[in-house]
Symmetry: C2
Subunit: 757 residues, 2 copies
Amino acid sequence: EVCFLGDRLLTQKSVMVNGTVFCNKNESGPIFQHYCADNNSDSCQYFKDPSVEARVVKAIPGLASGVFMKNIKSRYTEVNKVIGTTAEGSESRGEILADLTSSFMILLAIYFPSVTGIMAGSNRSGDLADGQKSIPTGTIAACSTTSLVYLSCVLFFAACIEGDVMRDKYGDSIGGALIIGMIAWPHEWVIVIGAFLSCLGAGLQSITGAPRLFQAIAKDNVVPFLRVFSVTRKNGEPLRALLLTAMITEIGILIGNLDHVAPIITMFFLMCYAFVNMACALQTLLQTPNWRPRFKYYHWSMSLLGVALCLVLMFISSWYFALAALAIAFGIYKYIEFKGAENEWGDGIRGLAMSAARYSLLRLQSGPPHTKNWRPQLLVLIKMDEELQPKYSKLVLFASQLKAGKGLVIVNSVLAGKFRDRFPDAQSCKQSLSNLIKTYNVKGFSDVSIASDVSEGLCQIIQNAGLGGLKHNTVLLGWPNDWRHDEDENSYMVFLETVKNVGAAGLALLVPKGIDRFPDPGVKVRGTIDVWWIVHDGGLLMLLPFLLRQERTWKNCKLRIFTVAQTEDNSIQMKKDLQTYLYQLRIEADVDVVEMSTTDISAYTYERTLMMEQRTDLLSKIKQQQEENFGNTLRVPTITLSTVPEEGNDIDHTEINQRSMDKSQFTFTPQDAKALVDKSKKPDKHNVRRMHTAVRLNEHIVEKSREAQLVILNLPAPPKSDSGAESYMEFLEVLTEGLDRVLMVRGTGREVITIYS
Amino acid sequence: EVCFLGDRLLTQKSVMVNGTVFCNKNESGPIFQHYCADNNSDSCQYFKDPSVEARVVKAIPGLASGVFMKNIKSRYTEVNKVIGTTAEGSESRGEILADLTSSFMILLAIYFPSVTGIMAGSNRSGDLADGQKSIPTGTIAACSTTSLVYLSCVLFFAACIEGDVMRDKYGDSIGGALIIGMIAWPHEWVIVIGAFLSCLGAGLQSITGAPRLFQAIAKDNVVPFLRVFSVTRKNGEPLRALLLTAMITEIGILIGNLDHVAPIITMFFLMCYAFVNMACALQTLLQTPNWRPRFKYYHWSMSLLGVALCLVLMFISSWYFALAALAIAFGIYKYIEFKGAENEWGDGIRGLAMSAARYSLLRLQSGPPHTKNWRPQLLVLIKMDEELQPKYSKLVLFASQLKAGKGLVIVNSVLAGKFRDRFPDAQSCKQSLSNLIKTYNVKGFSDVSIASDVSEGLCQIIQNAGLGGLKHNTVLLGWPNDWRHDEDENSYMVFLETVKNVGAAGLALLVPKGIDRFPDPGVKVRGTIDVWWIVHDGGLLMLLPFLLRQERTWKNCKLRIFTVAQTEDNSIQMKKDLQTYLYQLRIEADVDVVEMSTTDISAYTYERTLMMEQRTDLLSKIKQQQEENFGNTLRVPTITLSTVPEEGNDIDHTEINQRSMDKSQFTFTPQDAKALVDKSKKPDKHNVRRMHTAVRLNEHIVEKSREAQLVILNLPAPPKSDSGAESYMEFLEVLTEGLDRVLMVRGTGREVITIYS
């Protein structure tokens, strides 16, 4: 029996005098003492209100009393209000106050941990004879039983006990007794002892089980910093884990109020459930072949619903705890990923990444990008030396400096040999290439392939590298430095073949010469980048220095653009036009027009040409001899000086001129070179003429750009026939003589730069 | 001058009798008539309240009056309340009511369109001499001027006019006049005429400009259904666009209230700004090389801030309009994308897709996936016929049926020839392959490469296809159907070389035989898929039927698994073990163990072997003759019958046995075949033995699986030497004789299926 004043429940202590309850409004009674001692307060007014009466109510009216209908409506308590009412209460008046503002969500969070034993069950599933079959049935049965028992308890309590008495958490209205004890049979101590034993049992079980689980996790070495907890004592007791568990438990106890601990526990339970559900949904949605749930009624939408419910519950019950919990989970995930722990399990995220990559690539496939979106997608062809190490590793560094960090970089190499024999070599090459890429911090891909013929292999790589929309559009090829001293002609023939193939495939080509002298990583060079814009083949020459200057190494370099004019050209107008063009391109550069006169062939040029011709002659003779020795007459070298090598820029001229007439009014072509060739029809003079152009151009370049940090110029078209190979190489050597770092560029003729942003 | 009753502003009409204002509480006055006609209502009580007095207040007290301080606080009106108060008003009492609930955001939305002329300015930037330079300066100047003028207007109004009078939208308190007109100099008509002219001007300008802009958009043909609006009349007037514009305008007018139209307009303006900003931010963040903003102080964070502000404003001012606007924008985008309009501009989304693809691929790179994540990533090698059309196109269909829709499918082909000559052929092949892929709705990639030698080319493709983490792990190769009738041996030598290369590269291999008889798309087959599990090489044999049955075509097929036991094996125990294993794998299948006895070699086997040997002999003789005729003696065919071809499963046996001992207790190997080989050391008998095994096995398979829709069995290892090529092919033919659809599978020995999910 409890005492109410109006709708305010009073503590037993406050209405009891000498062991007798005085639950009335007599002026001598204890209620009057509490409420109206000063005779004029708010509480006294309440006391004097005639509609407020003191009444003794049965705490447990029983099932038949109809208290159920009274209790079925929701009524939440607010902290420091009298329970069941909205009035400010005071303990000194003997009113029972709520110590927690409650709401549906808070109560749910408190209730939740009591139904979370299901996961604990599946932890022990290893002992089951046939876990796959038992777990679903067992879990569902457990869930329904638990729900039934718990919910019926709730309903029966509601049907038996006065609502406000139930809200009286510490049982003050019934003298500190347990209300559940009062309805227990045969004695109220059953409850106390039962609860005590249950707590003790669960506690003991947890304090022995949890450290073992924790130690097992630590032993898996997935989270490296937990390793200290993996040791056990001689008798198998995980002491350190036990101590940590005890510490965590102690923290829980020190918080001192189950109502405050429960929401935190709820968070972790919910997160655990959410992630289990998410993993299931992910596996199903990604159609992992090894994900074959046996449970017949499984559907991914259920899992997704589970994830959603868990997350919603987490955020509703306490959004800051939820955020913190998610942050912790994310932190652990990133930590594990960072530590690169040998994960013994599959990775759903990997499947996601795969899907994303596939989807993006398919999306990219829909055709070549617009000029506005053009960016160099580099294919770097690297040569391997005898120790299977990359030979000119700075090519990769240069590729990364081209700000291709945001584009694609594929680093590839070819080993000569038979595929089935050299497979292990290729693997080690692949390793050293990927190390190289990591060293220079290039976000790119590397691969090595084996081909019986290196030229053929490079050609295949040029065709096959990349996938879908991620195809290279520019090839970065090292200059064969030792081509003159190489015993076999292979070195420069491979180079030349590749140059031709790249051209045939419609890709742009970059050939850095003197790559070993290119700046080291981290070095900041100061000076100028000089562009010698001789042929307009798509504007790649303009774009490259702009890209280079985005990078730290070349940031402080000034850009200078040189173009070549004949004496009869209006070089002032030309310069002005070029300046306007650059302004519209929004590229800052100094512009200079170099005039080249059609002077006589200098002595030096003659000399060089002669040298080259003699050498070619000599070499072809030696080769002939060698081949005769081997008795192989199939390949008769046709290198004779009477054969005319293709003039470097010839092909481009006509093409570009025609095309650029309607496209752009800015075409700068070495008219002089062309004129020279046209005039002199005598074939034996051709090499001389050619060399003359090279020497003259080189003179100008060296004069202007000797101090430049980088000289960028057009790579002339290679000769169509094989015969001109050597003179072409020599031509390039002469052209770039006396320059430290040269980048030769051959565009595709398609525009890669635009004045529209 | 206006009349207040208390703080309620009254209309001039209600307090005016015969042209005279009676703003007093006399019982005969008009206010009393309105408020207290019935003498006992709420309004009468308000009227009688002594603190409420009628007062005449100056509407425009002027700058010096200090009304500014009174107006500076925000006070929003609520619909149907008396303006400036929270009292319910009634027009019949002459009170001025608010016709709109206002808030900061609503007022902002109404104010916004008046400052949106900036975009209109940039529309006309084509006329500028140097737009790049003028637009930033011009825009900033325009913004600041506009802001200054507008804001000073707001402040001056606040400083001059009584707040409630300003809130009186229709000027009822001053007899319907314009309050701004009252302070205009020299006459109030200045305002009326000015506003009228301004409206007329803006309206005329818009009604002539907008249709032209609209017609231009329609003419661009980006949004195809707008095409009808692209026509103009003879005099260049876009009549249809004009009519549409007029219609839209009419809708605006019919809404009838600027306060309701303004928020809608604001939405579209904000969205326009948001997208412009987003495009800028995207370009910068993706470092598009052709995005080079000239404006020095440009930073992407500003753009992002702009996007955020626009979106926030949109959602704050009206979230449903915002959602609708975004939905419309998204719809238009998708529509344009769907129509695949020839877009003349770059696509920022493409850059995003590129970044996403790159990032995902790099993420995938970190090593081979766990068994749990294994899925077939197919490389389909397709042969092209003379017309450059794919030969066995159903290979692609079969690949798609392997549920590789969620994995990777790369369809590749090799053309024989010189790269530079056949480049156009390759392009047309590429086109037909990608059409094929589209036809079968495979989400995959296709490519064609040219190689001088087809075997070499295929080997290169096997090495080079894929990128980063998206590498194939399984090769799908067609069976060379006509290998016996092909004049040159090329067909099956290429096949055999490729089988060997695939093995060397550590990839799985699938060889469907009778691909032309495989089910057509959309056909649903019923029956069984029979797996003959002879060698355990990673479980691919188990996984494939599971994957196939995920697809509609094979969904209704039942799975049967056959394994081969010797007579001395405990076949009952074997069956039981296998059933348990399958149960743990969660694969539903009938299990059958076939017993093979070591019976004598049947007459048929002898016959077949003899036939094969005779044929091989004959062929090698012919070949020798041919080569002698050509005078080429370099390649002496070493095919003699004394050479022992590699026993099909031999290599696997020992390897697998050793490995699987510790890994898995379930290994099913054709012990009989091995035993046979071990016993008979005589080399000339080897082919006979081999063929015997094949014939016996084939008998069993045909007996059990004649009716099966698909038979899946192990592909034996190819012979190491070239000499056994023909007998190997013959062996396979015998093995699969009498079967309709066969899929031969060669795993890598690495586990691809796991009992753990």
